[in-house]
Structures are given as C-alpha cells and as structure tokens.
C-alpha cells in the first residue's frame, strides 16, 4: 500500500480553560489517500473544527497540539517550524470555512485576495501569469465572466458565489489536501448540491484529497468513500460510508442517522439524540457518550479502545449494535 497523502496519528489538542489545559480532541487517528474524499461527521461541539485547524497549524495560543503527529506526504507538521508551516499552508493543504459571508476580506478586491495566495508561495510569479491563473480558477468553480469578477469586491457576490471564490482560492496552488469545514452549511439546499458535486469533480480532476467536515450525514452519503464519526473530541466509529449508514455500530452513530429527516415517516416527529454534547472540561469518564446512551451500563465508564469490526471498520463501544464478524 502507498503512503496516504495525510495521516493524523494520536492527535491531542488542548485549550486553556480556567487556567488548566483541557483536551478538546484526543486520540484522533485518521488518514486520507491521494484523491480520496473522507467525511468527518459529528454533532456541533464534537471537535471537528479543532481537528481541521490542528491539521492546518492554525490553533492559536493558549491552545496547543500536545500530542501526536500530522504527516503530510511523510513530513511531520506538528514539529515543523513556523515558516515551514506557512509555506505548506495554502500551498500543500488548503482550508475552506463555514461562513462564506465572513471568509473574504470585505475591503479588498477579489483579485488582490486571490493573487496574494499565489505570491505568498511564489514570490517570483509575474502579475500577468498570476492573473490568468486566478481567472481560470474562478472559471473552474463556475463563476460567470471571471475576468470582470476579479475586479469586484466580496459584497458584490451572493453567499454561494463567495464560497465558490473561497474554493477557487483554496485550489489555486493545487494542494494535496483540502479541508472543507462545513462549507455548505450556511447555503441553501440547491446551492449545497451544486457545490458538493463540483467539489467532487474538482478533487477528481486535481487529485487533491478532501476532508469534508459536516454534521449532516445526508451530505456524506453520496460524496465520500469513508467516514469518521466524532464525538466528545474522539473518533467513535469509522468505516466505508455505505457500511456506516446501513449498519452503524456505535449507538451515537445510529442516533445521528435517525435524526436525519430522510428516515422520517410523514407525521412522525423528528428523532433527536437526548441531551447535549458536553463542554470539553465536563467530559465524562470512559465512553463520552454514555450519559446520553440508552444502552449504557457501568462498564461504559472504563477505558474503551477503538476495536476492529471487520476490515477498515472500527468503533469505540462495549455495546456494539452489530456482532463482531
């Protein structure tokens, strides 16, 4: 097997809460092959964004990556220097954020914001080449009359178009990995669908690996190959997407699936997992989901490792919903 483009090994990221360093994510292992699309799914507050930002090296002090490795094509980013990280960011790994209304600087023109992404990684690039590449990138993400749009300001674009601009910027340097942190959550459903299928195509064309972060399982169904389910800052289940949707192992995953509207019969109220994701300094011992779980027993308070349930299929649960094969 070839080395994955990105692998995260035993990641732990802490934040300072009332003077104490508290892990927001811990024990996170994941990998993305070249050109592969994976899903990172979980309720709000489960640690998806922190994982994405850790990979980007964008955790601000007093937050810190306290354990683990992040290997990009074999190079460890956790131990890399500040300048090296900057060179990698935006060139080898790019990130797109949730709110398209906020990701572009309101007072700078689109061409400024695009061309600086090129010159940051290639100081010798001439303006003409840079411009052409920016124009092509805008065309690639489906923005009409890109030449004129280059001169526009962000407020002259709709939300969907702004997210396309952000995607175009992320793609400019042909990164190996793109981390998309709920980029369609703030958009309406039709535009969501368009952007999703375009992203899929763009990743296929450019060979970039994609980490698609979402709280919405419907989104990952048609898009990704494998899915990581996150809860309380840990990966609680992973596997091929169809497998997870058809036969969830962790009761939390089943709860997520059930709370998606498509499983709902007309007239029946939408299912909701009872309770809420705990704050990072209030995490229960053992399985972090057990206080909200119908199947919980005293055993759930012990240490529960991620165990195998078939090839590429893992879950962190002592009451798995399917039998070990």
């Amino acid at each position: 097997m070839t080395n994955p483009a990105l692998s995260v090994i035993g990641l732990e990221t802490c934040f300072r809460i009332r003077g104490r360093m508290v892990p927001a994510v811990s024990d996170v292992d994941l990998f993305v092959d070249k050109g592969e699309i994976i899903g990172l799914v979980g309720e709000s507050g489960s640690g998806k964004s922190v994982t994405g930002l850790s990979i980007m090296g964008l955790i601000d002090k007093p937050g810190e990556i306290t354990k683990g490795k992040i290997l990009l094509n074999g190079e460890d980013l956790v131990s890399a220097g500040k300048e090296r990280l900057r060179q990698i960011r935006g060139a080898r790994i790019a990130m797109i954020f949730q709110d398209p209304m906020m990701t572009l600087n309101p007072v700078l023109r689109i061409d400024t914001q695009m061309m600086e992404a090129l010159s940051a990684h290639d100081s010798r690039i001439d303006a003409e080449t840079a411009r052409t590449r920016c124009r092509d990138a805008l065309g690639q993400v489906g923005i009409p009359s890109p030449e004129e749009r280059l001169k526009a300001y962000p407020h002259q674009f709709s939300g969907g178009m702004r997210q396309r601009v952000a995607i175009a910027i992320a793609l400019l340097n042909r990164p190996d990995i793109i981390i998309a942190d709920e980029p369609t959550t703030a958009l309406d459903v039709t535009i969501q669908g368009q952007i999703l299928s375009e992203m899929q195509k763009l990743c296929r064309d450019t060979g970039a690996g994609l980490v698609w972060i979402t709280h919405d399982l419907t989104v990952v169904a048609g898009l990704t190959t494998r899915v990581y389910v996150m809860y309380g800052g840990r990966i609680v289940e992973l596997g091929a997407v169809d497998d997870i949707l058809d036969r969830p192992i962790h009761p939390y995953t089943r709860g997520l699936i059930r709370s998606v509207p498509w499983h709902n019969r007309p007239g029946e109220p939408l299912y909701q997992i009872p309770g809420m994701t705990p704050a990072i300094d209030r995490m229960p011992a053992g399985c972090r989901f057990h206080p909200r779980c119908a199947l919980a027993t005293p055993e759930c308070r012990g240490d529960i490792p991620l165990s195998a349930f078939g090839p590429g299929r893992f879950a962190r649960c002592v009451h798995p919903l399917v039998e070990d094969s």
Partner: protein, 325 residues
C-alpha cells in the same frame, strides 16, 4: 453626487440658521454687552449714543433681522470691542489655530496608530500594557494641567523650549506659519504635544480595539490558511480594516481639535482663535461670538463632508446616498 452635495449644503445652511438664533437669544438672555463695554463714568448721553450705534436699542428680532440680511451679504458685523469686522479678526487669527490643530492631529495619527496597532497585536506584552496606561493618563489628566507641567519642565526647569507665543513665522502661500523656521518649530512643539495628548490616547484606544476585533474575524483565519506572511496579514488585511473606520473619527476630531484648542492656546499664549473667543465671551461681544461659531459650524460641515466622501472612496461597501453612478 450633485443631489448629495445640494442636500448637504442645505443641511449646513439650516444648521447655521438654528445656531445663530440660539446664540442670539442666548447672548441676549445672559446680559447686556453695554454694561461690560461702557465704563461706569460715561455720561447717559454717551451711553445712549453707543447703544444706538450698536443697534442695541432695537427689539431683539429686529436686531436679528439686521444680522440675517447683512450676513447674507457676507457682512457679519463689527466686533463691539475692536470695532473691526468680526470675520476679518477671526480669519487673521485662524492660521495659528489651524497650524496648531494640524500638528496635533498629525502627532495623534503618527504616534497613536503605530502604538495602537502594537498594543492590539500583542495585548499581553509589557510594552502594550505601558502604552495602555499612558493612554489612560492622556485621557484623564486635564489638558491645562499637562500644559502647565510641560511648561514647568521643558521651559522653566530645563530651559529647552519656549513657553509662549508663535515664534518666528514665514509666509507660506500668503499665510504666516511657524513650522518652517527653527524658532517657530521650537515654539510649536509644546503646545502641539499638549493639544495632541488626548487625541493620541483616543487614537491608541480605537486602533487597538479595531485591531483586536479584526484579528478575530474569519477572513483573517482564511488569510492565514492561504499561507500569507504575518507582515502581509497585518499591513494589508488588518490595517486596512482598522483604518477605514478610524478615518471618520480622526476627521471629526480635527473639528473638535480646532474648536477646543482654547485651553492650550490660553496656557501657551498661542495667538489663535481660541484666545479671541474666550475674550469675546467675557465681553459679550456678540458679533465676534457669532462669527466665530459660524466659522466653526462651516468648518465642521466641510470636514464632515470630506470625511464622508473619503470614506466612500476607501470603503467599497459604502455608497453616498442620493448619489448616482
């Protein structure tokens, strides 16, 4: 644009009108200028002559009507005290005040913005704390007290800088200025610092707040995700967003620096408009008070207009209402 300018001009005229009515009524109620102007030993005949000469025997609305018709013809009346055209008196004192005010504002900008940016970027550093302490002092210590301390230290104790007057002036485009001669500059330094201190503090605080707010914006995170250097992020992304709102404040402060230079001018015997108006108020010299206030109102309106236009030029999101493409 023309419609916009017309509307603004109309507003200014309306303001001038309302202000002049208020001042007329106000001065009328405070007291009779004749009591201040005429020595106690004057005969009743002399008294009557002067009252008639000033038109003070007329009912107040007749006096106002005379003022209004004359001022429309550009004549704001003669000063009761100096018996010279009030407008000419004020204009002859204006360059001194303007020079002082501009120097103070330039100081506020070139000292306040860099300090504010630093304090915003590194809020936890000792230097930042010192800057903030300085700004609190600048805010809370009374201007006249600081002025006196400056005189005590630099003029009386150390003998480095002169304590009063404008020093040697030269004509620049027909206007006498101090800052082009060494002697004039030496005279200018202390009053300019004195007048600037409050504004420096204000600019530091506003800049710092703006920088801190801007750093938390999603577009800064996106800029970092693009791999931009820290220098580019600070000097292009942060600075532009912070300075745009500052333009309004600094512009409006120019008006208030001019209007409230009174204290500094008094402490340093600076021969500007401020000193003139203080004396005029003491003597109830109504034409002089009115002319001064009219000029101040005009100046504020003009500054406001320039600030608004400037703002619409630098901030792409702002378009002047009532304007056309």
């Amino acid at each position: 644009m023309t419609a916009y300018l017309l509307r603004r001009s109309f507003q200014t005229v309306l303001t001038l009108f309302v202000m002049s009515v208020l001042v007329f009524v106000g001065v009328y109620m405070i007291g009779n200028p004749v009591d201040v102007l005429i020595s106690a030993s004057a005969t009743p005949q002399e008294r009557q002559d002067i009252i008639r000469a000033f038109g003070l025997d007329q009912p107040v609305w007749t006096q106002y009507w005379t003022f209004l018709t004359n001022s429309l013809a550009g004549d704001l009346g003669n000063s009761f005290v100096f018996n010279q055209p009030a407008l000419k008196l004020i204009l002859s004192r204006m360059p001194a005040t303007l020079e002082l005010a501009f120097c103070a504002l330039v100081l506020a900008v070139f000292v306040g913005i860099p300090l504010g940016v630093w304090a915003g970027l590194k809020p936890d550093r000792l230097t930042s704390r010192m800057i903030m302490t300085f700004s609190i002092l600048g805010f809370s210590l009374p201007t006249f007290w600081i002025g006196l301390m400056l005189v005590m230290l630099f003029s009386v104790k150390l003998g480095w800088l002169p304590a009063s007057g404008r020093g040697q002036t030269v004509e620049l485009l027909g206007v006498p200025v101090s800052f082009l001669t060494w002697d004039g500059l030496a005279h200018l330094i202390l009053p300019a610092i004195n007048l600037a201190l409050y504004k420096v503090s204000l600019v530091i605080r506003l800049t710092r707040a703006g920088v801190i707010e801007c750093l938390q914006m999603e577009y800064i995170r996106f800029a970092r995700a693009k791999g931009l250097t820290d220098a580019r992020i600070v000097f292009v992304h942060v600075l532009k967003n912070t300075l745009i709102p500052l333009i309004t404040v600094i512009g409006l402060e120019l008006g208030s620096v001019i209007a409230f230079a009174v204290v500094t001018e008094t402490v340093f015997s600076w021969p500007g408009m401020g000193k003139l108006i203080i004396d005029a108020i003491g003597n109830l010299d109504r034409p002089l008070i009115l002319a001064y206030l009219m000029i101040i109102v005009l100046m504020f309106s003009l500054i406001n207009l320039v600030v608004d236009i400037l703002y619409s030029v630098v901030d792409p999101r702002v378009r002047l209402e009532g304007g056309s493409e």
